[in-house]
Assembly symmetry: C2
Homo-oligomer: 255 residues x 2
């Protein structure tokens, strides 16, 4: 089956408490798409965060001494660093303007995913506003999934994504930060193991593969396309969660 990914245009510039579900459903309708069961909507983290009121005014933030220290090492604003630390469990690397942390949500990313992009459009030239990730993206995805089911009667999967850098390779790729109604990992029955003939099972990070695919479409234009409609996802839908995709620290050779 062909996999199709269609950008959803015409979404508003979201602000806190704006109705996300109804505006997305309307924009999908205007695109001429009739939603079906097992369709998936991939949603950029930014619009979820904005609607959930995750904008923070840096003027309200008092940096700790640790934040001051890391700010000096990285050339960043100490109030920004303070927020990164609050959003993180631990700091993995600090070098050359880069703060790589283990986010409170469990994944490894730069600057705890805190962003200033597009905030400017809402608040004039005031760069003292930054946008945190949603507090519980799996829950955000589940809320959206349920509301869409309520409004449209269609059982869709929801994937919330952000752009993450990677170890070893250049460039960012779309990466899952929350999901509902779709699998994070998929077990693929593998071949017998090379030496010993035990059944080798390969786990495919299907949600992350879809996140990357959708990101390809979100990223191309000057215009923001924060929602992508997906049809033809090749695996059975089930209730997945972000945690499936996080490698437990004791199994991680690269922290």
């Amino acid at each position: 089956m062909t996999l199709t990914l269609t950008p959803i245009h015409g979404l508003p510039l979201y602000q806190k408490d704006d109705p996300l579900t109804s505006t997305i459903l309307e924009a999908i309708r205007v695109e001429g798409i009739e939603l079906r069961d097992s369709d998936i909507l991939v949603v950029a983290q930014k619009i979820v965060s904005k609607v959930e009121g995750r904008l923070v005014y840096l003027g309200d933030i008092t940096p700790s001494s640790m934040a001051h220290q890391l700010a000096e090492m990285t050339g960043k604003d100490p109030r920004f660093v303070e927020l990164v630390l609050r959003e993180s469990k631990s700091t993995l690397r600090v070098r050359g303007g880069t703060l790589i942390v283990e986010h409170n949500l469990g994944f490894i990313c730069a600057n705890a995913g805190i962003d200033h992009s597009n905030v400017k459009g809402l608040y004039g030239s005031d760069d003292d506003w930054v946008l945190l990730l949603p507090e519980n993206p799996d829950q955000s995805a589940e809320n959206l999934r349920r509301e869409i089911l309520g409004f449209s009667g269609k059982n869709v999967g929801i994937l919330i994504i952000d752009s993450h850098g990677r170890a070893w390779r250049m460039g960012v790729v779309g990466t899952t930060i929350g999901l509902a109604g779709i699998p994070g990992l998929v077990d693929k029955r593998g071949d017998p193991d090379l030496f010993g003939y035990r059944l080798k099972v390969t786990q495919i990070a299907a949600a992350d593969e879809l996140a990357a695919a959708a990101s390809l479409i979100m990223g191309q234009a000057d215009e923001a396309v924060p929602v992508v409609h997906v049809r033809g996802f090749p695996y059975p839908l089930r209730d997945g969660c972000l945690q499936e995709l996080i490698r437990p620290q004791e199994q991680d050779l690269f922290r």
Copy 2:
């Protein structure tokens, strides 16, 4: 524009020196797809390696003492480990049956990408055959691109992919190991940097995003689908190469 990814069925079980280009073009025709300029074909590494004769008989391999030592640590066949070492510049991690190496081609991966999957089908139950990656996947991609241009008159991009594990996250994702006629990285004009107003340019690993997308389709079935046809890639095509996607060691915080 909608991005569509279509699996190409009906390809043969390839062996050394089989005609790759003509069989792929014929299978695309049978799928009812008329190739256009700027279409992309994503090709699984395995069929390229097989056609290029990268099968190796382990009985021909004499392990070094280093290979014996690492074989003991990982529980692997020393001849297999010897091949991993020959295919690699350096070994990053050895733990719990896992050998993470810097491949001669520059990327970091497990077991130097050496695989035994599907080899069995060709050679009965003899598990002493393994499949190395193509020697120069960029060149393999370029050869395929040129031959398709010659046969069909269509200027397509070619992406050769494999499944790679990742630091920090569970599951494998489709990842670029060679490309021709498409960009590896794409510069996205970013917002002014948060503190200092220099123009921040985000580099998108577009080839890897497409690799992940195509992998989603290749991986789903018991039947192997080693070629995916892509239409609607949102960035201008140009001549890219694998090297764009490799983070130089001095910029890599996670080796």
